[in-house]
C-alpha cells in the first residue's frame, strides 16, 4: 500500500502555489476564463428560458421540463464529440473558426450548462407561490417587472443554478478535451492538464493540479455563499430595490 502519489501531490501542490508557478497560473486563469464566459453566456439564454417555463402555463410544458432535466445528464464527451463535428473545418459551423480556441471551449460549456440553469430556475420559480405573479400584475407591473420581481423572490434557487453551472463548467473534461485539444499555452485548462499528466504517469503533479482545482472551486463557492448571505449584500439589494 502506497500513499506516495497522494502525499507527493500535497507537497507539489503547496510548492506550485507558493512559487506561483507561471504555467499553473496560466492554466488556472484559462479554466476560470472558459467557465465564467460559459456561465455568462448560458445565463443570457438560460435565465429567460427558465423564467418563461417557470412562470408560463402552456401546452407541453411538462414535456419541455422533462427534456431540460434529461439534458442536464448529457455526457460531456458526447456533447464534445457532437460540437467537434459541428465546429470542424468541414463541419456546418466550421466557418466560425471556434475549434481549438478558448471561446470555442466556452461556447461548448455554455451549451452544456444551459439545461442546468433552465431546470433549476424553472423549479425555483415554481416553488414560489403561484399567486405572487398575479399579485404583482394586479399592482400594475409590466411583464418585465413581473419577471424581475419573481426572479428576486426565487433568487436563492437561481443563484444556486448559476453557481452549480459554473462548477460544472469548471470541472468538466470532455468538452475542454474535444474542443480545446489541450494545446499548451493556448487551450490547456486544469482538467485537461490533469488528464495529460495522468496519461504521462506524473501522478504527483496530477494530484497537485486536482487539489488546486478543488481549492479554487471551494474558495469561489465560499465567497459567493458568504457575500450572498452577508448583510452588506442585503443592504445593497435593498438600496437598489432589487
Amino acid at each position: 500500500m502506497s500513499w506516495q502519489p497522494i502525499s507527493d501531490g500535497v507537497t507539489q501542490a503547496w510548492h506550485l502555489i507558493a512559487t506561483c508557478d507561471p504555467q499553473i497560473v496560466d492554466i488556472t486563469i484559462r479554466s476560470l476564463q472558459t467557465s465564467s464566459m460559459a456561465t455568462v453566456m448560458a445565463a443570457f439564454v438560460g435565465l429567460p428560458l427558465g423564467i418563461i417555463i417557470g412562470m408560463g402555463s402552456f401546452r407541453g410544458k411538462e414535456l419541455v421540463k422533462i427534456l431540460f432535466n434529461a439534458l442536464v445528464g448529457v455526457p460531456t464527451v458526447s456533447l464534445g464529440l457532437f460540437l467537434w463535428a459541428m465546429f470542424s473545418r468541414d463541419g456546418p459551423l466550421g466557418v466560425l473558426d471556434l475549434l481549438y480556441t478558448v471561446p470555442g471551449i466556452a461556447v461548448g460549456e455554455a451549451i452544456l450548462i444551459i439545461p442546468i440553469i433552465v431546470s433549476f430556475t424553472a423549479s425555483a420559480i415554481e416553488a414560489k407561490d403561484e399567486k405572487l405573479r398575479d399579485l404583482v400584475r394586479t399592482l400594475g407591473a409590466s411583464d418585465f417587472e413581473t419577471a424581475m420581481a419573481i426572479l428576486r423572490e426565487a433568487w436563492g434557487g437561481v443563484s444556486l443554478a448559476l453557481v452549480s453551472s459554473f462548477n460544472r463548467a469548471f470541472a468538466e473534461l470532455g468538452i475542454a478535451m474535444m474542443l480545446g485539444a489541450n494545446i499548451r499555452g493556448i487551450t490547456r485548462v486544469l482538467t485537461t492538464a490533469i488528464s495529460l499528466e495522468t496519461a504521462k504517469g506524473e501522478l504527483g503533479l496530477s494530484f497537485a493540479l486536482s487539489f488546486i482545482l478543488f481549492a479554487v472551486v471551494l474558495s469561489l463557492n465560499f465567497v459567493v455563499g458568504y457575500v450572498g448571505r452577508s448583510r452588506w449584500f442585503g443592504d445593497l439589494q435593498a438600496r437598489s430595490g432589487w
Binding site: 445565463a43 468541414d90 480556441t101 504517469g201
Partner: protein
Amino acid sequence: MTEKKGMTINQRTMVIIGVVLAVAFVAGAWYMTRPTTKEQIIVSTTTSFYETGFLDILKKNFETKYPQYNVSFISQGTGLAIETAKKGNADLILVHDPKAETTFLTDGYGVNRKIVAYNFFIYVGPSADPIGVKGLSPVDALKKIAEEGAKGNAIWVSRGDNSGTHSKEKALWKLAGLNVTLLKQQTTPDGKPWYYEAGAGMTATLQLADQKNAYTITDVASYLKNSASGNIKLVKVVDSGKDTLNVYAAIICNPSKNTRGHYEASTTFVKYLASDEGQALFKDYGVTQYGQALFKPWITTLKANTDTDLIQWVKDYAYIEGSDCPMAYRLNPGDLYS
C-alpha cells in the same frame, strides 16, 4: 407612489448595468484570448510522441529559429490523429503507421510525406518472466504467450485504441499466424480472458500491465521514461529487431482539400524536421536522462549509410513504392527529397 417608481428605475438600471458588465466581460475575455499575430500551425500527432516530452523541445527550437510561426500539437492515437487532419482541423500529421499513412496519401488528404525518425518496439513483462519469453524472436514470443495465456499462465495487454502501437501489435499477431479476434474470446481454464484491451494511452497501458504482471508491447521511448520514473517495474523481455521497427513520418495536409491555408508554414516545419538541426534534436533527446536517444534520426542514419541492415529494414517497412513519398503525391517539394 414616487417611491415605487424610483424602485422600478433602479431595478432596470441594475439589470442594464449587469448586462453591460457581462457583455464587457465576455468581450474582454474574447479579446484577451484572441489568436496571436503569429501564424499558427497545428500538428496532429500521436500520444507516444507527445508523452515523452520531445515535442516541447522541438517547439522551442523551431519557434526560436522561425519566430513568425507558432506550433501547436494535438496528441491523439494515430487513428484519431489522422481523422482530425482529414476533417481539416490540422495542418500536418506526425504519425507512425505506414499503412494508414499510405491510405491518407492515396485518398488525397496528404502530400509530401517525409520519414524523419525511427526507434523500436519492445515487449515488456514481469521481471521473473514466468513463461520464459526472454530471448525469443518477436513472433515466437507471441506464439508462446498465446499458448501459455490460454492455460492461464500469462496475460497480454493490448492498447486496443487503433493507435500506431496497436496497429503494430495486430500486424505482429498476424505474422505469428494467430487471429486476434479469436484470441480476445479465449478464456483461461477458470473462465477469465487472458487478452486484455486497455483502450488507453501507452503509459496507462504499461501501468495496467505492471499491475497485472502481464506482457505488453511498447515503444522504447515510453518504456524508458516510465521505467526511469519508477512508474512500472516491468522489464524488457523481447528486444528490437526487423519485425518491431517503429518509423515516424510527417505528412502535410493537401492544400486543395484543407482550408486552413498554412501550407507554406507546414512545409517549413517539415523541412526543419529533416534538416541537420532538426535531426540533431532527435539524436540528443533523452541521452542525458535515459542513457540513450528516445528517437533515432532517420535522415542522418540514411546519409551516414553505415548500418545497411537497418536502412534496408526501414525501406522495406516504411517506404511507399520505393521512396518516402511517391512522385504523384509530391507538391512543390523544393529540396525536401534531394
